[in-house]
């Protein structure tokens, strides 16, 4: 028994000695991680009502370094409530992170609901990133799926959070209609360049567009019996909890 204790002690001491030999590795950073830059994205045929199809892009961002070659990535459709479109109503064209870039995009061709029969006006498809030889789903865990909706009607633009600092603080379809009418734009890429065109607005161009929007609203107010009002809302500023934005029905106040 005594020898057994001695032997046990020796083993214990040796174990202590060897624990310093193991390199304490930091959990490796997911250098192949890829995630979407948004959780939802809306597209609208309102500017091209006669078109049968259009192509829209969803941006992704890599966790690791850039490389000197294009890196395709893989997405899959997530069946369920988030996917109301059938396979014939959309087509994934490609999904690539270009050489030297931290951002990439998946391009999807979607069909105009107004040109289809027997379909709702709003269609949706939910995508998720799946592993391939270049990337694994990783990064911001809430951003591994994206829900793309498209409609023949007005849809809240992808860049509304940028628009609200230049045009109007509150979103409504009437605000969006006036932006399109006065400025001829459907998106306002201020924080980041447009994934398709690479164009990025600065604040000074925003001032000019905001003034055009403001002039349009002021002209409307001067030429109509009633002022231009919010016809609906996006659910924000709902202090009474009725599910409807409190500003619905209020006059639209331009920021410039």
């Amino acid at each position: 028994m005594k020898n057994l204790i001695q032997f046990g002690l020796i083993i214990f001491v040796f174990a202590l000695a060897f624990c310093g030999c193991k390199e304490d590795m930091i959990e490796p950073y997911n250098m192949r991680g890829l995630f979407f830059t948004t959780k939802t994205l809306n597209a609208s045929f309102i500017m091209i009502p006669d078109e049968e199809k259009m192509i829209t892009s969803i941006r992704v961002k890599v966790m690791g370094d850039t490389v000197s070659y294009d890196r395709p990535f893989k997405v899959e459709v997530v069946p369920g409530d988030g996917t109301t479109a059938s396979e014939s109503q959309y087509r994934i064209i490609d999904a690539v992170v270009p050489a030297g870039e931290w951002f990439g995009s998946v391009r999807i061709e979607v069909a105009n609901p107004a040109k289809l029969t027997g379909v709702p006006s709003l269609l949706a498809v939910t995508l998720k990133i799946v592993e391939n030889e270049n990337f694994t789903p990783g990064g911001f865990m809430d951003f591994l799926q994206v829900k793309l909706t498209w409609t023949a009607d007005y849809a809240k633009p992808r860049t509304w959070r940028e628009m609200r600092f230049f045009f109007c603080s509150y979103y409504s379809t009437n605000v969006y209609k006036a932006i399109i009418e006065s400025c001829g734009i459907t998106e306002f890429d201020y924080y980041q360049a447009n994934p398709e065109t690479g164009y990025q607005y600065d604040q000074y161009e925003g001032f000019v567009l905001g003034k055009k929007f403001g002039d349009w609203v002021r002209n409307y107010n001067a030429t109509h019996d009633d002022v231009y009002r919010h016809d609906d809302g996006d659910g924000t500023y709902d202090n009474d909890g009725d599910g409807i934005s409190d500003y619905v029905g209020q006059p639209i106040v331009p920021l410039h």
């Binding site: 001695q6 002690l9 020796i10 001491v13 040796f14 202590l16 000695a17 310093g20 030999c21 600065d202 000074y204 161009e205 001032f207 000019v208 003034k211 410039h256």
Partner: protein, 528 residues
């Protein structure tokens, strides 16, 4: 137990081995000789004139090796800045020679930005040693005088004169660089640039500019680094509704705004953008006496260089009033403010209806000068730009002013200069009674351009103009010399007229210098 202690003593050294750094390899490493790049005599920051040869020849050695045992790669960044990331902007080696001799055609550097030159030396064993220099690229064209002229009556070209009269620390013979615009852009500018003034782009890769206004009121920006066309009219505006009937371009101060007076409005121009851009015009409405009034800028603004209390004051033609903006720069969203009067004012600045502004500028002693036409009467109004208070209304005596085509003031004296087709005059305001004095007559041809010489850096940053160590002092001709373009048909001569006396109302005829060989001279400006 004794055995346990013995075991522990035996084991203990093993437990502590991780507590000591293994220095065993240090000696071996130090024994390998390094490549030595000797840069003695070569500054850490290199500078070279644009389009000139950059020559760098460090001495490379390594114990036991000869010159033939090294290979070289010289890399040069093609963008300024990005310290620590330069290598990303160096695609291919520019040379593989031991000594670099390379023509630099990069854009000149500005501000604190520089390019990087990177040398990689590899020996026959594969070991490499690097060295990096900062590189400043200097403009091939320095400060001096730019003359816009036309040889065909419809297009404009630019000539730069660098010389002792216009250029700091210039000691050699004058250097005249002609046709700079057409050489750079392939052809002369289509249009007549009748108003040329210095400008500045505050972007890190921007730099010195020239602002031009044509006879038709178009606005054009040209780089004063290489004379490339930066843009014209709507190229430079986010507002596609902006109307270009420009009358005056303003390089206001060291802040990131210049401005343009056009079609009765003032448009701030954001000079931190590339290219510089107009966005919204300044506010048009202002409150005066409890009434909202709509402003119409009458062609010219008296604007303060640097940070003034009122950066600019002008005549609002709609309301017959002198108004301005109490701001250090043209602020598109800032309010406009009427000027005021006090006990020492001899006119009401808000009750001067029916005038036409012929000229407006900052004169001496913080006074803005406005030359106004009222029917057949010509008047000078002065308003202080630090208080916004009206000062004097002066009726210009004599009949000469009725033929005036060009005007100028010097910030050094209370004298206003004007020129008609053949002569230059001074309106001397320092005495009790204003007098008009003929200063100079041209013997042939007609005067087609006229200005006071004012160094361009002073316009952009007059706060540098403070006596003392480390500050800039303008050259002697600054504000004390008139420039005259005299033309016959489509040929012209530039005259510099040094001025004498406290009033600067006398031309020093013994020192008049002329420069010939121009087309019809349209406008004259200093450049940095």
């Amino acid at each position: 137990m004794k055995k346990i202690i013995i075991y522990l003593i035996i084991v203990f050294p093993f437990l502590t081995t991780a507590c000591f750094k293994d220095l065993g390899h240090e000696w071996d490493r130090d024994s390998i000789p390094e490549i030595v790049i000797d840069t003695t005599g070569i500054p850490a920051t290199l500078s070279v004139l644009q389009f000139d040869h950059l020559k760098v020849a460090p001495t490379v050695s390594k114990e036991g090796l000869t010159a033939a045992d090294f290979s070289y790669k010289w890399y040069l960044s093609y963008v300024m800045g990005y310290p620590g990331e330069e290598r990303a902007y160096m695609p291919d080696p520019i040379s593989t020679d031991a000594a670099l001799d390379y023509v630099i055609d990069l854009q000149p550097t500005s501000g604190s930005y520089s390019y990087s030159l990177w040398l990689q030396v590899t020996d026959k064993t594969g070991l490499r040693k690097d060295f990096r220099w900062s590189l400043l690229v200097l403009s091939a064209y320095g400060d001096g005088l730019v003359i816009a002229d036309t040889k065909d009556g419809s297009t404009t070209d630019l000539t730069l004169i660098e010389g002792r009269s216009f250029t700091e620390a210039w000691t050699q013979d004058d250097r005249i660089s002609r046709n700079l615009y057409s050489v750079k852009n392939g052809e002369a500018y289509a249009g007549l640039i009748t108003n040329l003034s210095p400008g500045w782009n505050a972007n890190s890769t921007g730099g010195k500019r020239l602002y031009g206004i044509t006879a038709q009121g178009d606005f054009v920006v040209v780089s004063a680094i290489d004379y490339s066309l930066i843009g014209k009219n709507h190229d430079l505006s986010y507002d596609d509704q902006m109307v270009f009937k420009a009358t005056q371009a303003l390089e206001t101060s060291t802040s990131s705004y210049s401005a343009l007076v056009t079609d009765g409005k003032i448009y701030p121009m954001v000079t931190s953008l590339l290219p510089e851009r107009f966005h919204l015009s300044m506010t048009e409405n202002y409150s005066s006496g409890g009434v909202t009034k709509t402003n119409y800028v009458d062609k010219y603004v008296a604007y303060v260089h640097g940070n003034g209390t009122w950066w600019g004051i002008w005549y609002d033609k709609n309301n017959g009033a002198f108004i301005g903006q109490k701001s250090s720069y043209p602020n598109y969203s800032g309010v406009l403010t009427p000027t005021d009067k006090d006990a020492s004012s001899n006119f009401d600045p808000l009750d001067v209806p029916g005038r036409e502004t012929l000229y407006a500028a900052v004169g001496s002693q913080n006074e803005d000068y406005f030359l106004m036409k009222y029917g057949s009467t010509y008047e000078i109004y002065t308003v202080t730009n630090n208080t916004g208070m009206a000062r004097d209304k002066i009726t210009i005596p004599g009949s000469e002013i009725a033929q005036a085509k060009f005007f100028a003031v010097s910030e050094r004296t209370k004298t206003v200069f004007f020129a008609d087709q053949t002569a230059v005059y001074a309106i001397i305001l320092s005495g009790g009674t204003p007098t008009v004095k003929k200063m100079y007559s041209v013997s042939s041809g007609e005067i087609t351009a006229f200005s006071v010489f004012r160094q361009a850096w002073y316009l952009r940053n007059p706060s540098l103009y403070v006596s003392g160590v480390g500050y800039k002092v303008p050259i002697a001709n600054h504000e004390t010399m008139l420039l005259l373009g005299v033309s016959s048909g489509n040929s012209g001569t530039l005259y510099e007229l040094p001025l004498l006396g406290a009033d600067l109302a006398t031309v020093d005829n013994s020192k008049v210098i002329s420069y010939s060989g121009f087309g019809k001279i349209l406008s004259i400006s200093a450049q940095e």
